[in-house]
C-alpha cells in the first residue's frame, strides 16, 4: 500500500515545499524532514516513502546516469551533461556507471527517458526485427 488519499496529498504538498526555483533544494528538504520529525504525522512511514519517491523522480530529471562498457572520458561526460542541459532546459549533471553488458557504447538515463547507443541495444533491436 502506498498510503491513503490524505497521506498522498500531504506528501505532494511537502514535495512542493522542497523546491526552490523549480529545483530540489537541500535546505528545504532538511526543513521538511525536520517538520515530519517534529509533528510525527499519522502514517509517517508511508508519507516518507511517498515523499522520497517524489524527490527521487524529480532528482532523476536533473541527473543523467551514463552507463558505459569501455572507458569514458571526463570530457565526454561533460559534453553529455551540457547537451542534456540544453535539451531539457534545466541544469543536468552526469555520472558514469560501468555496465559491461552493453558490450560497447553508451546508454544514458535521465528521468524516464533512455538514450540507447550501445551494441547490446542494437542487437536486441536486430533480434526483434529478424
Amino acid at each position: 500500500m502506498r498510503g491513503d488519499k490524505k497521506t498522498k496529498l500531504l506528501a505532494k504538498q511537502l514535495f512542493k515545499l522542497s523546491l526552490a526555483n523549480g529545483q530540489v533544494s537541500p535546505e528545504q528538504v532538511a526543513g521538511v524532514l525536520g517538520y515530519i520529525e517534529k509533528t510525527a504525522p499519522r502514517n509517517a512511514l508511508s508519507l516518507l516513502k511517498l515523499y522520497q519517491q517524489a524527490i527521487l523522480t524529480e532528482l532523476a530529471k536533473s541527473h543523467a546516469r551514463v552507463e558505459h562498457a569501455g572507458p569514458i572520458a571526463a570530457t565526454t561526460l561533460a559534453q553529455i551533461a551540457s547537451a542534456l542541459t540544453k535539451k531539457y532546459q534545466r541544469p543536468v549533471t552526469a555520472t558514469a556507471q560501468p555496465n559491461p553488458q552493453l558490450l560497447a557504447g553508451l546508454r544514458v538515463r535521465i528521468g524516464s527517458d533512455v538514450y540507447e547507443s550501445s551494441v547490446a541495444g542494437q542487437l536486441t533491436q536486430l533480434a526483434s526485427s529478424v
Binding site: 517524489a54 527517458d113 533512455v114 538514450y115 547507443s117 541495444g121 529478424v130
Partner: protein, 509 residues
C-alpha cells in the same frame, strides 16, 4: 539459410550509431491483468506499451504520478521493477481480406494453427465513428435467412440491431444463421457473375464465451461453407479481461476495413453483457469510481462509441452490427440492456416461454422492432409479408382472451386459426437459413390460403414439403423472384401453378 543471412546483413546495414530515444517506466504493482507503472512521462492515452517478454499493454489511466496499463497477454512473467517502454503507437490490429477464414485473438494474432496472416494494413483499435456528412441512410436489406425476422423485423446494411434474451433462447443461433446465410448468398451472387452484386463479409466476435462453444460455432460455419467469408475474433472466458474488453473494438476495426474499401460487412458482438462485465473488472482494479451495479460511469460511452462505428457510408460500403445482450429472467430494464437498447436501431427480443413451447426462433413479435422499417425490405417481402406483424399481434391478443371463453364468433376463430398457422410457419430449425425467394414463395402461399386446409400440427411438415418442392423443381421460378425482387402478374401466375401442383401432390399423400 542464405536468405536468413541476407536478412541479418540487411538489418546490420540499417543499424547506425545514432542514439535511439526510448521513454521508459518501471512496474510498481501488477494485479489481475493491470499494471501500475512509474515513469512513462511521454505516454499517450490508449498508447501501446511494451512489457518484458513481448507482452503488450494499453495505457488507460494517466495520472500525475503513475500510469495504469491493462496487460494483453501473459502477466505471470511480469514482476515489480520490470522496465516498460512506450511504443509511440496506438493499439492496432491487422485488417484486410487475408483475415477471412481465420480465427484471431483480440490483437489480430492467429490462433487457428493455420500459419501467419499476411496482412498488409493495420487499423487502430479505437477509432472515431464516421460523422454525419459521410453517412447515408440505411436502405439495402441484409437477409438473415430467418423468415420471422426478414418478413417482420427487417435488418438493413449499416443498421445496429440488438439481439436480446435470456440464456439458452437462441441468440447465438440467430447470429450464426445470419452469417451462414451471408455465406450462401455470397456464393450464389459471386457465381452468378452479377457486377452489381455486393457480398457481405462477416466478423464474429466471441467475448467471454466458453472455448467449447467457440469451437462449435467455428465448426458450424466451416460445415456450412461460410467460414471463408468470415473472420472470428475470439476472447474467450479463459482470456484476461483486457483481451475481452478490446476484442469487440478489434473486430470493429477489421469490419471497418471492408466498409472503408467499398464493401459490406456484418459484425456480431457475442455478447456485450460479458463485455461490460470485463470492462467493470478492469475499471474497478484501476480504481475508477463505480456507479450503478458497480459499472463505471462511462459504460454507456463504451458501447455507444463501439456501436456508432457501424454505418452505411456514402460512396463506400457498410458495417452492420448485431450486438447480443443476455438478460436475467427476461429483465430488459436492467442497466446494460437499457443502455444498448437505446443505442441500437431496434431489437429482436427472444422469449424463454416461446422457446420452451417449441416456437423457435423464439422471437417475441410484440417486443421486437426494427427502427429502419420497411425501407430495408425488398418489394417482394413487402408484398407477401406486409401485414404479418399486425396479424400476429392480433392473434396474440385474441389468443390471450380466447383462454377465458369457449364461445367464439367465426371471425375470431378464423383469426386464431390463421395466427396459429403463421406461428407454425415461422418455426425454423437452426443452421438452416432460407433464401429470400423461398421465404417469399412460402409466405405467398400462406397469403393465398394454401395452408388453410392443412391441420395446424402438419403445417411445419407441409411448409418443408413446399420448400423442398420449390428448391428441387422450380429453380427457375425462384431465380426469377430473386432477380426481379418483386411479384408481378407473370411470377404470380407461375407461383400459382407451382403451388397448385404442390398442393395436389401433398394432399394426395
Amino acid at each position: 539459410m542464405s536468405t536468413v543471412v541476407e536478412q541479418i546483413e540487411q538489418q546490420i546495414a540499417k543499424l547506425t550509431s545514432k542514439a535511439v530515444k526510448k521513454n521508459t517506466g518501471t512496474i510498481r504493482t501488477v494485479a489481475d491483468g493491470v499494471a501500475l507503472v512509474d515513469g512513462l512521462s511521454d505516454v499517450m492515452y490508449n498508447e501501446m506499451v511494451k512489457f518484458p517478454g513481448d507482452a503488450i499493454g494499453i495505457a488507460l489511466n494517466l495520472s500525475a504520478d503513475e500510469v495504469g496499463c491493462v496487460v494483453l497477454g501473459d502477466v505471470s512473467q511480469l514482476k515489480e521493477g520490470d522496465e516498460v517502454q512506450t511504443t509511440g503507437k496506438l493499439l492496432s490490429v491487422p485488417v484486410g481480406r487475408a483475415l477471412l477464414g481465420r480465427v484471431v485473438d483480440a490483437l489480430g494474432r492467429p490462433i487457428d494453427g493455420k500459419g501467419p496472416i499476411d496482412a498488409k494494413e493495420f487499423f487502430p483499435v479505437e477509432k472515431i465513428a464516421p460523422g454525419i456528412m459521410v453517412r447515408k441512410s440505411v436502405s439495402q436489406p441484409l437477409f438473415t435467412g430467418i423468415m420471422a425476422i426478414d418478413s417482420m423485423i427487417p435488418i438493413g446494411r449499416g443498421q445496429r440491431e440488438l439481439i436480446i434474451g435470456d440464456r439458452g433462447t437462441g441468440k447465438t443461433t440467430i447470429c450464426i444463421d445470419t452469417i451462414i446465410n451471408q455465406g450462401r448468398i455470397n456464393k450464389v451472387g459471386l457465381a452468378s457473375g452479377d457486377k452489381n452484386f455486393r457480398p457481405v463479409y462477416s466478423i464474429y466476435v466471441a467475448i467471454g464465451q466458453k472455448q467449447s462453444n467457440v469451437v462449435r460455432t467455428i465448426a458450424a460455419l466451416e460445415a456450412a461453407g461460410a467460414l471463408e467469408y468470415t473472420v472470428v475474433v475470439a476472447a474467450t472466458a479463459g482470456d484476461n479481461p483486457a483481451n475481452q474488453y478490446i476484442a469487440p473494438f478489434a473486430g470493429a476495426s477489421i469490419g471497418e476495413w471492408f466498409m472503408e474499401n467499398g464493401m459490406d460487412a456484418l459484425i456480431v458482438y457475442d455478447d456485450l453483457s460479458k463485455h461490460a462485465v470485463a470492462y467493470r473488472q478492469i475499471t474497478l482494479i484501476l480504481k475508477r469510481p463505480s456507479g450503478r451495479e458497480a459499472y463505471p460511469g462511462d459504460v454507456f460511452y463504451l458501447h455507444s462509441r463501439l456501436l456508432e462505428r457501424a454505418a452505411r457510408l456514402d460512396g463506400k460500403g457498410s458495417l452492420t452490427a448485431l450486438p447480443v445482450i443476455e438478460t436475467q429472467a427476461g429483465d430488459v430494464s436492467a442497466y446494460i440492456p437499457t443502455n444498448v437498447i437505446s443505442i441500437t436501431d431496434g431489437q429482436i427480443f427472444l422469449e424463454t416461454d416461446l422457446f420452451n413451447q417449441g416456437i423457435r426462433p423464439a422471437v417475441s413479435v410484440g417486443l421486437s422492432v426494427s427502427r429502419v422499417g420497411s425501407s430495408a425490405q425488398i418489394k417482394v417481402t413487402k408484398q407477401v409479408g406486409g401485414k404479418l406483424k399486425g396479424e400476429l399481434a392480433q392473434f396474440r391478443e385474441l389468443a390471450a382472451f380466447a383462454q377465458f371463453g369457449s364461445d367464439l364468433d367465426a371471425k375470431t376463430k378464423a383469426q386464431l386459426e390463421r395466427g396459429s398457422r403463421i406461428v407454425e410457419l415461422f418455426k425454423q430449425p437452426q443452421l438452416n437459413p432460407l433464401a429470400i425467394e423461398v421465404q417469399a414463395a412460402v409466405l405467398w402461399a400462406l397469403q393465398k390460403s394454401y395452408f388453410d386446409s392443412i391441420d395446424i400440427k402438419s403445417i411445419v411438415a407441409a411448409a418443408n414439403s413446399l420448400k423442398n418442392y420449390l428448391t428441387s423443381r422450380k429453380d427457375a421460378l425462384l431465380a426469377k423472384i430473386r432477380t426481379k425482387a418483386a411479384l408481378d402478374a407473370e411470377i404470380e401466375g407461375e407461383l400459382k401453378a407451382a403451388a397448385d401442383e404442390w398442393k395436389s401432390t401433398y394432399t394426395a399423400k
